[in-house]
Subunit: 389 residues, 2 copies
């Protein structure tokens, strides 16, 4: 339900509007902001003043030389004070990234650990250690970390912060929150959704796309108009269990012929036979570089299956673009073509434009960046809270 709007809410919205424009444009003068937002110069000045006082925005001091008349004083979002942390628990590593309010990545910490067999409690304790040391370092460079989000490869109940199922971690109904040693609130979210948000804020600049996270499972995050689409329970984007062939190999989801059985990491490696489990994607890449026929055929098959599943996704969800991330990023040279062709064959007659298939530039960092970015985004979208704190 929408809320009543009083004077304070009006102010909060205009504050968010101004800060949002500053954030989107890098640096702007007050006069330009007045033009853009439609607010009166007076109002913009007052709002910018408050943002400066709160430390969210700084005058660049740089006086832009225009054509004629008094030059404007540009302001930009301050990256010097406020920051957020993105955390990730994945099958074989933990990660923490600190991002400042200006969306610069300030710290990257990754710790390889095998979390397959570990107890959730131990994993969470390790993560907390990693997060704490990252926060300490952030403090050393003058940053105040005001919030965090934790990315987990599984379905998450956003309301309670409970990880419903994370099959590759062996988790079921685990609630990692709160992380009591961290002096700020942390939320939990699904890795595929966060990776899509990472692509939105730190990637190629699309605002409408489907981001495919190839890992051991295959997930997808949909961004429409710069907003994530999550579905009713928040479990949308389970691309890995979309039907490729209804009589295909059985899947742990209970179905048969799901995409994951053709294009998930395990299926892919198994199809390319002869890659020892430990070597993982690196082993596959080596053999692809060497021109190994089995490896090429495995990618061909995975790419075809991905194309089939994505054709269903395009029909249902109509994304602007498709971005392949996770393991599909390094494999893109070998699967991108088949995916595009399969998609074109299945959609070309119905649609004027078939979404283009692109490769993610972020790789494994997408989820943590999206996680930190989400905290930043919330501040940009509603700075009123921080103003009084």
């Amino acid at each position: 339900m929408t809320q009543a709007v009083r004077h304070d809410a009006m102010r909060a919205r205009n504050l968010a509007l101004v800060l949002g424009e500053v954030s989107a444009r890098g640096s702007v003068t007050r006069a330009a902001l007045a033009e853009i937002t439609g607010l009166a110069k007076t109002t913009v000045s007052k709002l910018v003043g408050d943002l400066i006082e709160a430390g969210l925005v700084v005058e660049t001091g740089v006086v832009r030389a225009g054509e004629r008349g008094r030059p404007g004083m540009e302001v930009r979002v301050s990256g010097e004070r406020i920051a957020a942390i993105g955390l990730e628990i994945n099958v074989d590593y933990l990660a923490a990234h600190v991002v400042d309010l200006a969306r610069s990545v300030r710290l990257r910490r990754t710790q390889p650990v095998d979390n397959r067999m570990a107890q959730p409690g131990d994993v969470i304790a390790n993560l907390q250690d990693l997060a704490l040391s990252a926060v300490d370092e952030a403090v050393d460079i003058g940053l105040r970390v005001v919030g965090g989000v934790l990315a987990v490869p599984g379905t998450v109940d956003l309301a309670t912060g409970t990880v419903r199922r994370a099959p590759n971690l062996g988790w079921r109904d685990v609630t990692p929150l709160p992380l009591p040693r961290l002096p700020f609130p942390v939320r939990v979210d699904n890795e595929a959704n966060l990776a899509a948000l990472g692509e939105l804020w730190f990637g190629a600049g699309h605002r409408d796309f489907l981001h495919v996270s190839g890992e051991i499972g295959v997930g997808a995050g949909l961004i429409v108009g710069g907003e994530p689409f999550r579905g009713f329970h928040g479990f949308a984007g389970e691309l890995g269990h979309v039907v490729v062939s209804p009589g295909g190999p059985p899947c742990r989801c209970g179905g048969q012929g799901c995409l994951e059985r053709y294009a998930g990491q395990d299926a892919l490696l198994a199809a390319a036979a002869g890659i020892e489990a430990g070597a993982g994607i690196a082993g596959l890449l080596a053999r692809l570089d060497a021109g190994d026929q089995d490896a090429l055929a495995a990618c061909e098959r995975a790419g075809w299956a991905l194309g089939v599943a994505l054709s269903s996704a395009v029909n249902l969800v109509d994304p602007g673009t498709i971005v392949l991330g996770g393991i599909y990023a390094p494999l893109f040279p070998w699967i991108g073509g088949v995916v595009t062709e399969t998609l074109a064959a299945r959609l070309g007659e119905m649609r004027e434009v078939v979404p283009s298939v692109e490769v993610s530039r972020l790789g494994a960092e997408a989820a943590t960046l999206g996680a930190a970015g989400q905290v930043i985004q919330r501040i940009i979208a509603d700075p009123a809270g921080l103003l009084n704190a």
Copy 2:
């Protein structure tokens, strides 16, 4: 981009908030509205006063007897003045429904015509005649029709109002607007989306569901949190071309094994062999009632395919409920079971709750009701415009 909020926008939002609550609750007192919205009593009184003056709301005159104290004067949305018209062009009929601001259906006009072979211009002229006579009748009962929406079975470019492809009408890039003889603006929209909206406002009261429109093609409309999801170009919900079996029968979309080839009206009738084209669904229903084996088998197969396609849809889009409409409504007794079972088999291991599969109560009226409802909804969501007019 969000807009600047000034005093008038603040007012407009609060006005919408109040009218929205009145609409949602049927009738309420000013005091209750103040409680619900969080606005001060004074403010609510002023806003309600303006709504009454504009004729959007009326005092019921009924004084509700409470426990103690002065009884409140209840207000409700007025159905006496303002109305909207929903129009539909379909393969074998034209339809027009007039709905008042209180969401009561005031007029139903349907005209059977075979539009398969007709020129778009002729069809549109016929529709305009139908609409005009409906509007005249509406005027006779004291209603002012302030807007309309036209439902078309095809993909629609909402920005331009152009029907991109409506294969079953044989339309391609037809722009039916404006309808110059109608004294109010009309927009065009996709039939499946509008049917879903019809289900939302006139159906069983769900706010999160996927509505499946079985016709000659198979479309779907997704409603999340009471809002339609349309995708990037507005072409989301093409359930008919979701993959059931990637090596299956070729489809006019260029793909193979699409749902439409298993569960579309033509495929269904063909599978039940021996139903002459003219008899349509009625013929099939007659044979099902008679226990005909071929007909039963055809429904079984269609239901299975629908279940397979819907399992992909649930994984991608995570709807709260699935509502089967169009031809699937009368066929529900014969396909509902298979759909549910197929869905459960393919999703049960992954999800705690599999969305329930229900039958639409609106049948063929869903799209026109949704079309008229959309105009009503816009007024409720932003009454400020009408207030000054």
